[in-house]
Symmetry: C2
Subunit: 352 residues, 2 copies
DNA sequence: CTGAAAGCGCTAACAT
DNA sequence: ATGTTAGCGCTTTCAG
């Protein structure tokens, strides 16, 4: 039908035969009102199907409890889990949660943050690793400062702060340790020719994983030249393409560390297409332990990152003590989960 | 540090040496202002890092362009894809998108819809199938009527309207046709003893799939008794449990139709644990074609439901002609995608 | 115990 | 071309 006007507090007041002040008082419930009037007001409100105007409320009340989540895309299982954690924790505290997807475009990210400032979000959570260039550093510094100026908090979730002095809360995984552990797992199985697929130079999460990978190699006494990093970026398609390519020009690897589980999915597929059996002919490990990782063929050995907890921790810490949350850095541990995608290399390692 | 006050339009006006009206005019850009003043105002706004207060704007401007999405959980690949479609289409129209997860709890759903009314969402999209009981019917009728009363639209995305007269736009898949097609695919391969895992009596989407499954059986001349539906609900764990159980007490099925791909994942796993090779010993099909379905072991033959398009269509149709959108029903087609999880049954079907 | 009235920050007439 | 002003719907002193 035609957009009838919304019922206002005044109409409720009229119907109940009281003033708007009284209605406001019973609805807010923060002021003693005699049961008789109370009931009358409540009945009138229900009869009219009155809903308060959140904007008017926010205007006078100084903003409302809202956390804004900014991520690359909702369909990535990892991001979705983080978002779910944020949402759950926010809901548990009675906060509203606004989710925005940027598709990885800094421009859209900026617009969204701006929008959130307009909306009066009191918590803005930026999720996921990013390419940390000068533009990024400047952007985040500006967000943090702007948000801070209006009493809001910036939370960096799974990405580092470009500068420890910036008023932002950082909640991260120890990516370097995770990659080190999973690479060591491969080394312990006897592998020596191990490739890393899914680098993305400048991306903080991936750079850390590459560092962990190199560190593991070094710790096992391998020369720096033993490392082979393919910077194909993330995603199933990228992993598939890169693996196909790698197999064509450099087939003598016995194991690959994928930048994340989606890359691993692509790698597994490419290996299968090339007639390689995993783990018999080739070992593959992933990163993140997404819900379907155990349904891969074969079930994937990977690094479990408590993604939902990452989200929960982000808002829990930010809400716990808003004023002290600025500048602190919280690191979440990870551990590897062993399934069936790793076996000793086909030929015994020569240097054992 | 301490929550300084937000910069208001008045401060910008003062700094620029003009009135608030002038500032409002240049910022809204809907009124001619001489370049000189314009520049002065813009400069002042930038210097002060001014951001408009969306609440004040909404209050006077009569709400803002916002679509609210209500779904069970973000981590379900199917829901995530629908949400992504909604988000993308909304963004393309310059609308904001608020996502809320209910965890399947009608109570939370109701609260969220209420919240969205307060926030002034002009479009509320309810995503995903539901158990359609009396309580549901009444709830939806109330949502639709309440939303309609305040000039907002209700969109049912992937769930039916309990009553065609309700002012809601419905965008759905033809679940019956999809299930019929995939079951027929199994029948054509020679299967006769086919189980359906993942029924959820009352759930509209699943009920439709079960109907399609039965219809296919009937169309191939099988008696009604040939149907075997296990009402285990959705999810990987449910599928795994139900399949394990089925295998134990009734192992003579040669194929299973899973309620969705996640159930199929569980079925595949249970089959593997029981030493069955898919598709050699058992054929399995899924529903939805989630992104990782082709990475299952083996790659899953399933029904492709254009989930993202479902979301896009929902907001596109609702936005196209808001007043005519009420009461219309839009059906999206599906098609099966053949991969490697189906083969002829191990022993030749006796009745061929 | 309850009502009147003063804004919250902004836009849109209406003046000048 | 720009300023003045009256609200938008609500909460919250401040009176009565």
């Amino acid at each position: 039908m035609a957009a009838r006007e919304r019922v206002t507090i005044r109409e409720v007041a009229e119907r109940a035969g009281v003033s708007v002040a009284t209605v406001s008082r019973v609805l807010s419930g923060n002021y003693p009102v005699p049961p008789a009037t109370r009931t009358r007001v409540l009945r009138a409100a229900k009869a009219l199907d009155y809903v308060a105007n959140a904007h008017a409320r926010a205007l006078v009340g100084g903003g409302r409890k809202m956390v804004a989540v900014v991520l690359r895309q909702v369909t990535s299982p990892f991001y979705a889990q983080v978002a779910e954690g944020i949402e759950a924790e926010a809901a548990a505290h009675g906060w509203l949660c606004l989710v925005g997807a940027t598709g990885g475009d800094p421009q859209r990210e900026m617009e969204f943050v701006q929008l959130m400032r307009e909306e009066g979000a009191r918590l803005v959570v930026l999720v996921g690793g990013v390419v940390e260039d000068d533009s990024y550093r400047e952007r985040v510094a500006r967000y943090a400062q702007a948000l801070d100026a209006s009493g809001a908090r910036l939370v960096l979730c799974g990405r580092p702060s470009p500068d420890p002095d910036i008023p932002a809360l950082v909640v991260e995984f120890d990516n370097e340790a995770g990659a080190l552990a999973i690479t060591s797992h491969l080394l312990s199985a006897g592998h020596r020719r191990i490739a890393f697929l899914g680098g993305l130079p400048g991306n903080t999460s991936l750079d850390a994983r590459v560092r962990g990978y190199r560190a593991a190699l070094a710790a096992h006494g391998l020369p720096a030249g033993a490392a082979h990093v393919v910077d194909c970026g993330l995603g199933r398609a990228a992993g598939h393409r890169a693996m196909t390519e790698l197999l064509r020009r450099n087939p003598d690897f016995t194991a690959v560390v994928a930048g994340d589980d989606m890359v691993a999915a692509g790698v597994l597929r490419a290996a299968g297409e090339a007639g390689l059996r995993v783990p018999h002919d080739l070992s593959v490990v992933g990163y993140n332990d997404i819900p379907l990782a155990e349904d891969f063929n074969p079930p994937l050995t990977t690094v479990r990152t408590p993604s939902e907890e990452l989200g929960r921790a982000a808002v829990r810490l930010a809400l716990r003590d808003p004023d002290r949350a600025a500048g602190i850095r919280h690191l979440l541990g990870t551990h590897i989960v062993v399934r069936d995608s790793v076996a000793p290399p086909p030929a015994p390692a020569r240097d054992l």
